[in-house]
Amino acid sequence: MLKPILLEKLVKKILFVGTAITVFILFFIIFYILKNGLAVIDMEFLLSSPKDLGRAGGIFPCIVGTIVLSLIAILIATPLGVGAAIYLTEYTRKGRLISIIRFFTECLSGIPSIIFGLFGFVLFVVYLGFGWSILSGGLTTAFMLLPTIIRTSEEAIKAVPDYYREVSLSLGGTKWQTIVKVVLPSALPGIATGIILGIARSIEETAVVIFTAGSVLHLPTSLFDSCRTMSVHFYILAREGISMENAYGTAAVLIITILLINMFAYWLMHRLIAKYS
């Protein structure tokens, strides 16, 4: 039987090692991808079209496809998500309907992307006849992002102190004027954080996109064109062994983008925290 004090020291060491391993894994992945991929990235890689299925050339159409698809997803998910968050926080905080909405929002966030992919495929690609297109992909991704945006916006709106609302109402503001002029501006950094994390998720997503936007390797010219996002391009390059070099390059671009987006989101979050504490 170990003495409690010694046991505690031992446990602490073990837990520390576990934590260290986790952090190490993250840094290892980032380091490994960047080490192999950075050398591939130059202006030409970023700004030219792929040749020979991606064996040579760059990833420009994929960058464009990724950006446009994310934009559509965010443009649809943001009004829906922020609207829902406003309703859930400002209009009714309790009640049966609210708990049902909350439950479905939670569930929606747990649904695997492949299911969203199947759904988007049937609804948008086949049933509504949008075909494999940026529009189908963007709409389906928007649905997938919705829970994230609702949750972060809710948190941000709840963090706005009640006395701001009282002041605005006591100055003759209506509820909606109060929300638009006082609550939303104060909650903006938090809401923006959610939107930015949503952008990151839409960039990472592969399963949904491959089912709804397809994987055509051309520069898209309309919303009804199929496109290949960076994640999908990387998946195809790596899985079919087309070009390891370009796979690393694409992965590096992806990782750097995600890192920058996440860092920006945390910076915004901290501004929000600093503002209210």
């Binding site: 409690p4 004090i5 505690e8 446990v11 602490k12 073990i14 837990l15 520390f16 090692v17 576990g18 934590t19 986790t22 952090v23 894994i25 993250l26 980032i30 490994y32 829906l80 609207g83 829902a84 406003i86 309703y87 909405i101 479905f104 929002t105 939670e106 569930c107 747990g110 649904i111 695997p112 492949i114 299911i115 969203f116 992919g117 199947l118 759904f119 049937v122 609804l123 919705l146 829970p147 209506t174 509820k175 909606w176 990151a200 960039i203 990472e204 592969t206 399963a207 089912f211 994640s231 990387f234 998946y235 790596a238 899985r239 992806l254 990782i255 995600i258 890192l259 996440n262 945390y266």
Partner: protein, 283 residues
């Protein structure tokens, strides 16, 4: 003025209902596409049938169910020691500053695209397994390790939040009775945070069951009932993703039916997690 406010409230209510509508639409479409074949083949035959050869009209997804179960179980085994270590260490043994730095870093793991995880499995794990343990590489083992890492942030982050939600008075109370910190954690804090941590683990299981792209890249995808950790296996998600491109008719319906099984599994997991986390809050 008043009617305008009412109109706005109504509009907001519509947006709030959107998640319910989307959820129901998903269920509707998946069931509409997949249910006919389940009814035709028979639920028992579909879920417990061991032969999957769509060209011969054989639709049994039992091997995929077993594959999913093996890989998910493996992922949890890989993930739990690490994620619980992280959670307990960061919540109980570190300063708020360290916690504030490391937690976002771990959450960043969730931001890495799943295809990158799959790729890391291919280029790092496969050679390691080939050289040291034998076999080709694509296997339950490699899929478990990669998925285990992928669900680390989910479990860690929820577990930290649950531990932090335990009132500070529990710690003071226990420490002032002469307990060490570890005794305090074991006797007072972990029991109080149990529901929350469990709900995090369930959500982690949900993520592992639902993961698709990484799994396709590293699990081998053969439709066999695996016997060992080194056997390749195919998951439910991989089954859908691999064959959807060329499937038509009954075959396509059978893939949607696979989606139904997946959907129901995830819903059950979600409901359990939801109940658990609510119980945690009530405490």
């Amino acid at each position: 003025m008043k009617s305008r406010e009412n109109l706005i409230q109504f509009g907001l209510l519509i947006t709030a209902l959107s998640t319910i509508v989307i959820h129901l639409l998903i269920a509707l479409f998946i069931f509409q596409e997949g249910l006919p074949i389940i009814l035709r083949v028979g639920i028992n035959e579909f879920v417990c049938g061991t032969h999957w050869s769509p060209q011969q009209g054989q639709f049994g997804i039992f091997p995929m169910i077993v594959g999913t179960a093996w890989i998910t179980a493996g992922a949890i085994l890989v993930s739990l020691p690490l994620s619980l270590s992280c959670a307990i260490y960061l919540s109980e043994f570190s300063t708020p500053k360290v916690r504030g730095t490391i937690k976002p870093i771990i959450e960043l793991l969730a931001g890495i695209p799943s295809v990158v995880y799959g790729f890391m499995g291919m280029v790092i794990l496969f050679p390691m397994i080939r050289n040291h343990l034998g076999g080709a590489g694509p296997s339950i083992l490699s899929a478990s390790i990669i998925l285990g890492i992928m669900i680390l942030p989910t479990i860690t982050s929820i577990a930290i939040d649950s531990l932090q939600a335990v009132p500070y008075s529990y710690r003071e109370g226990s420490l002032s009775l002469g307990a060490t910190r570890w005794q305090t954690i074991r006797m007072a804090i972990l029991p109080a945070a149990k529901s929350g941590i469990l709900s995090g683990i369930i959500l982690g299981i949900g993520r592992a069951v639902g993961e698709t792209m990484a799994v396709i890249m590293i699990s081998g995808n053969s439709v066999i009932i695996p016997n060992s950790l080194f056997d390749p296996a195919r998951t439910l998600t991989a089954n859908i993703a691999l064959e959807m491109n060329y499937a038509v008719g009954d075959h396509r319906q059978a893939l949607f039916a696979t989606g139904i099984v997946l959907f129901i599994t995830i819903m059950i997991l979600n409901i359990i997690a939801n109940v658990l986390s609510r119980r945690g809050v009530e405490k």
